[in-house]
C-alpha cells in the first residue's frame, strides 16, 4: 500500500468516526462540535491527496477557523442542556432509515468494487494560481453573486440576532 493510499484510509476512518461521534453524541453539544472539526480537518487532508491544495487550505480556514467556532460560540453563549433523540412516535422514520441504509449498503458495495486510478495531472493543478485565474475570468459571475449573498447574510444575521431594532 502506498503512502497516499494509507493516509487516505486513515483520514477516511477519522472522518467517519468523528461524523458518527457528532451525530450520536446527545449529551454534549460542544463535544459534537469538536467532532465536526475533526471531520473537517480530515476532509482537508483528503483534499490535499486529491491535489486540491487551495480548497484544502480554505476548508480548514473557513470551516475549521470560522464556521465551527461560530457554532461553539453560540453553544457556549446559550449554555445548553443535554438533548435527546427523536421520540419513537414517527415510526415511518425507522422504516425509511432502514430502507435508506440498505440502499446505501448496496450502492456502497457497487461503488467500492471499482478501483479507478485518477489520471496524471498537469503542473499547478489545484494551486491558487490556476484556481484564482479561472475564478476571476470564467466564473466572475459566481464571485459577484456570492459577495451579494454574503452581504445579505450579514444584514440578515444582524437583524435576527439583535435584541431590538431601533
Amino acid at each position: 500500500m502506498s503512502a497516499p493510499l494509507f493516509l487516505f484510509y486513515v483520514f477516511a476512518a477519522l472522518a467517519v468516526v468523528s461524523a458518527l461521534g457528532m451525530v450520536l453524541n446527545v449529551r454534549n453539544t460542544v463535544a459534537a462540535a469538536m467532532s465536526l472539526v475533526v471531520t473537517m480537518v480530515s476532509l482537508a487532508g483528503i483534499y490535499v491527496l486529491l491535489a486540491a491544495y487551495l480548497v484544502a487550505a480554505i476548508q480548514i480556514m473557513v470551516y475549521g477557523g470560522a464556521i465551527v467556532v461560530l457554532f461553539l460560540f453560540v453553544v457556549m453563549l446559550l449554555n445548553l442542556h443535554s438533548d435527546e433523540f427523536l421520540p419513537a412516535r414517527q415510526r415511518w422514520l425507522k422504516f425509511a432509515g432502514a430502507l435508506l441504509g440498505v440502499f446505501l449498503l448496496v450502492e456502497g458495495l457497487r461503488v467500492l468494487g471499482g478501483f479507478h486510478e485518477p489520471p496524471p495531472l498537469p503542473e499547478g493543478f489545484g494551486g491558487y494560481r490556476q484556481l484564482g485565474l479561472s475564478l476571476y475570468t470564467d466564473y466572475l459571475l459566481i464571485v459577484e453573486v456570492i459577495s451579494l449573498l454574503l452581504t445579505a447574510a450579514i444584514v440578515g444575521a444582524l437583524i435576527l440576532a439583535k435584541r431590538e431594532i431601533d
Binding site: 460542544v30 463535544a31 480537518v41 487550505a57 470560522a66 467556532v69
Partner: protein, 386 residues
C-alpha cells in the same frame, strides 16, 4: 530526502524554538523588571552559579513538572487534558514553512533551507493558526468555571475577527511578490530598488542621474518598504491573534483572573505559557520573512556575497559561509522582532474589549481593503517597476 527533512526539523526544534523560547521567559521577566525599576529573576542557582538568573527557565520547568495536575470538579476531563496540546502543537508546526536561510548549490545538490517548500506556504500558516483557536475554546469551556468561559468567549470572538483582517492585511504583499511561497518571497527580497526609480516609469524618457542608483538612495527590496501600512496592520493583527498585551483581554488578569486557563496547573499551565512564547517566535519569523527580507543581507545579494568571497576561499567554503551569515542574519531580525513585541507588551496598557473589536472591524479592515486597492492601482500603473 526524508533524512534532509528530519535534520531540518530537528534543527528548527532545537536551535530556533528550543533555545529561544526558554530564554524568552527569562528575558521577559528581566525586561518587565527593568521597565518597573526592579532587579528581576536572579536567585536560581546551581552550586552558587547564577548566570544572571539564566537558570530560572530550568527551575521553572522542574517546578511545573513536579506540581500537582489538577482537573477541577465537574470539568470535562478528556477535553481539559487535551486543550493545552491543541494550543501548543499548531504553534510548533507552523514553523515548517518559514525559511531560515536561502537556496544554495553545493556541487550537484541544491538545498533549500526550509522544512517544507510548499507552494501554498502562507495559506498553511493561516490554516494552522485558525486551528489554534480550539485550544483556547476547549480550555475555557471544559474547565467548568465562569472565568474560563468568559475568557474563552472573548478569545474566540477576538481570534475569529482578527483572522479576517490578518489575511486581508498581507494581500498587498502577495500582490507585490506574486507568490504565496515563503522561500520565493525571501528570494524576491534579496535585491534592492531605487527610491525614486518609479519616476522613470511615470515620465517617459526621463533618465535619473547616476548618483541616485548608489547607496543612500537605494533600499533593500523588503516588504516593509513596499508595504509599510501592511506591515503595521499585520503586526497589530498577528499580535492580537496571539492574545499578547496590549490585546490580552481574553486573559486580562485584573478582570477575569487568567481567562481561559484559570483552572490549569502544573505543566499543562506551562504548555499554555510555552505556546504563547513559541507563537512569539513564529510571529517574529513570519514578520521577518514577509516584511524584513527574511534571511537576506541588506544591500548585499547572495550572488554578490558568494562572488566576493569565492576568490579568497573557494566556492564551497564561500557557500558554506553564506549559509551561516544568512542564518545569523535571520536570527538577528527574529530577535529584533521579539524585542519589539516584548517592548510593546510592557510599554502599552491593555485595550478595552470593545476597543479591540472596534480597531479590528472599523479600523484595520477598511484600511486593509484600501491598501489592497492602492497596491493594485500602483502595480497596474508602474508595471514591474519596483
Amino acid at each position: 530526502m526524508p533524512v534532509e527533512v528530519i535534520v531540518k526539523t530537528l534543527f528548527i526544534l532545537i536551535v530556533v524554538i528550543g533555545a529561544l523560547a526558554p530564554v524568552m521567559t527569562w528575558t521577559e521577566r528581566k525586561q518587565s523588571a527593568v521597565m518597573q525599576d526592579r532587579i528581576g529573576a536572579n536567585r536560581a542557582d546551581l552550586g552558587g552559579i547564577t548566570v544572571l538568573g539564566l537558570l530560572h527557565p530550568l527551575a521553572d520547568v522542574v517546578k511545573l513538572l513536579t506540581k500537582e495536575d489538577v482537573v477541577p470538579l465537574g470539568a470535562n476531563r478528556i477535553m481539559h487534558l487535551l486543550a493545552p496540546l491543541i494550543a501548543a502543537v499548531p504553534a510548533v508546526i507552523a514553523y515548517g514553512v518559514i525559511p531560515f536561510a536561502g537556496v544554495y548549490t553545493f556541487g550537484q545538490d541544491t538545498i533549500s533551507m526550509v522544512v517544507s517548500n510548499a507552494d501554498w506556504g502562507l495559506l498553511y500558516i493561516f490554516a494552522i493558526g485558525s486551528i489554534a483557536t480550539y485550544g483556547t475554546v476547549m480550555a475555557g469551556w471544559s474547565s467548568n468555571s465562569n472565568w474560563s468561559l468568559l475568557g474563552a468567549m472573548r478569545a474566540s470572538a477576538q481570534m475569529i475577527s482578527y483572522e479576517v483582517t490578518m489575511g486581508l492585511s498581507v494581500v498587498g504583499i502577495f500582490m507585490v511578490f506574486g507568490t504565496l511561497q515563503l522561500q520565493t518571497m525571501a528570494i524576491e527580497q534579496d535585491a534592492t530598488f531605487r527610491i525614486l526609480g518609479f519616476l522613470e516609469y511615470l515620465i517617459p524618457g526621463l533618465q535619473l542621474p547616476a548618483f541616485l542608483s548608489a547607496f543612500p538612495f537605494v533600499l533593500p527590496k523588503w516588504g516593509i518598504f513596499l508595504q509599510p501600512l501592511g506591515f503595521l496592520m499585520f503586526l497589530a493583527t498577528i499580535m492580537a491573534e496571539n492574545k499578547r498585551p496590549p490585546f490580552d483581554v481574553p486573559e486580562g488578569e485584573s478582570e477575569i483572573i487568567a481567562g481561559y486557563f484559570t483552572e490549569y496547573s502544573g505543566m499543562r499551565f506551562g504548555l499554555f505559557f510555552m505556546a504563547e512564547f513559541i507563537e512569539v517566535v513564529v510571529i517574529a519569523g513570519l514578520v521577518t520573512t514577509l516584511f524584513l527580507g527574511g534571511w537576506t543581507i541588506p544591500w548585499v545579494s547572495t550572488a554578490d556575497f558568494i562572488g566576493v568571497v569565492t576568490p579568497a576561499l573557494g566556492e564551497g567554503v564561500a557557500t558554506g559561509l553564506c549559509v551561516i551569515v544568512h542564518f545569523l542574519m535571520f536570527m538577528t531580525k527574529v530577535v529584533v522582532m521579539i524585542w519589539l513585541q516584548m517592548s510593546l507588551r510592557w510599554g502599552l496598557p491593555r485595550f478595552r474589549y470593545d476597543h479591540v473589536m472596534d480597531l479590528c472591524w472599523k479600523g484595520i479592515l477598511p484600511l486593509s481593503i484600501a491598501n489592497i486597492f492602492v497596491t493594485g492601482a500602483l502595480l497596474l500603473l508602474l508595471g514591474d517597476a519596483s
